[in-house]
Symmetry: C2
Subunit: 345 residues, 2 copies
Amino acid sequence: MPDVTGKVRIAIDAMGGDFAPDEIVKGAVLAARKGDADITLVGPEDVVREHLEKNGATPDLVRVVHAAEVIREGEAPAHAIRQKRQSSIVVGIKLVRSGDADAFVSAGSSGAVAAAAATYLGMVQGIERPTIGGGFSSFAPNIVVMDLGANVDCKPHQLVSFAIAGTVYARTIYGIENPTVGLLSTGSEEGKGNELAKDAFPLLRDSGLNFVGNIEGGDILMGKANVIVCDGFVGNVILKFYESIGDRARVWLMGKYPSIRGLVGFIFDRVLPIKKLSYEGEEEGSGILWGVDGVVRIAHGACRAEHIVHGVVAASKAASVDIVGNLKKEIAYLTEQGRLNKGGQ
Amino acid sequence: MPDVTGKVRIAIDAMGGDFAPDEIVKGAVLAARKGDADITLVGPEDVVREHLEKNGATPDLVRVVHAAEVIREGEAPAHAIRQKRQSSIVVGIKLVRSGDADAFVSAGSSGAVAAAAATYLGMVQGIERPTIGGGFSSFAPNIVVMDLGANVDCKPHQLVSFAIAGTVYARTIYGIENPTVGLLSTGSEEGKGNELAKDAFPLLRDSGLNFVGNIEGGDILMGKANVIVCDGFVGNVILKFYESIGDRARVWLMGKYPSIRGLVGFIFDRVLPIKKLSYEGEEEGSGILWGVDGVVRIAHGACRAEHIVHGVVAASKAASVDIVGNLKKEIAYLTEQGRLNKGGQ
């Protein structure tokens, strides 16, 4: 879907995130200067242009699409996207729908982005609700955990759709031909776990995916499965827990060995960049919004300019490898095999 | 409850655990030689005596109580404890009931130990089912996460009983006078999270405990709350995940910096004993069985002799500080305040 220049076209929500618009515009300018993608910023035109100038951007470096309104963190998503049709989130999503952008990146309210995407792009047939998955970078480069918080109190068949999206994720983004799928539970045998895990197990086994059974918390980083499916409550808690450990290790080591505080600081800051474990790769606790009929990437609310650059790279890749087309193909294949109608999917 | 010698009397399941009876008996002998507790081993007398001799124990070092049967990992707990009344688990629990031991330690089937304890010791009034909590040692010395896997698909009022037990845990074991209680969820504001968290929030707020609201995954190790309550599915996944990170960090660092493999190995093995994060303290992923009317400690199935020594120390402390009496007092106090009957407790 690249434009005539051959570049992927990425629309960025200028007003989303804790440090918007400053850090977002700065990131957009950095991404545009890299030259791999055509960048469009979506937001109030005067505000965006002022920040572009501040960052020394020439007028033709970044396109600006005007969006007068801003949806704030904490607004009820469904209500907000209905009321604020001129918001940067709604306008940005519509650029993807109209084909004027190949992907949309936002660090704004993830609930509002998901609601706008589901409403204006629609869902891929066979998937009920948008889901977010992602790798736990650093220690585990070839895994994707799904869902990471977009869906809580899941039904068993939702875990099957996470498994399908995760399989396409691992295949298209990581290049793993036949990704293994594991069900997160409290024991390795079938029948271990809570009601959700027990009910999802046979659905996953019969899904036609490469299901390897239950995996436990200690297996997540060990590569026992490429795709790990769980309720978004569990996924969210684990991801945030994981992200906290690097800082905690640093503080703990300094407290325990005060005489080597300097060395510990040096090691964590310079030699081994594991201060924030998940900041190693490009995922950084954010990710592609799966299941919607278009490429949308939700970035961390706390993201800075360099994370926007990462987000653009990741969104470009997702658009280039056609994640949506691949997801549709996977669902069509599994449906054709007669797998997906078993067990109420 | 110490005997005439002033020592706490600990009964140990000689037949429970992956390395029983060898490592268990070895651990019991080490604990007995330390001299802080009177040790009784429960199991087939000939087998236990043979292993005691192998470890050079004098005949009066450790008492042996005969139990002919063994409950294996994987047997259905309720069925097993009914069928095998001469098992080391049932006989050991009964030593606590009869007052012949102050506490029982087992590395056997945790389901069977919990079932036997609930059946033969009974539950403390106001608590429905046994629960296991514990600290995540190393990085977070003053927290207890409860439940760690004994109870899944919890009801909101169960989280309140975890909070009560956790409060008594933090007060008696950690010496924190007025422990803070946090509800694990996916956002910090009330109303964030799944149905369980949303429904448990008002019950905890009105419980009379020192409730500080929701805490997120990233807050667990940060000391935002001393007691962190969650469904046992989530607690179990997080604990096992946590325990895996030390080894994973070591492997990852060695792979990423092959030229300093030796240094990494040295650091993890000798200087900073965080190869297994949770092996730092005495908890080690096992813990006191809370809610039953007696002191019972469940040890890791994979535990070795030194962990049995730790288990004896921890069980001795739990008996000495009278965790059960304190739990009863806390429940009586909260009930008297009229707190516990709100919201269906």
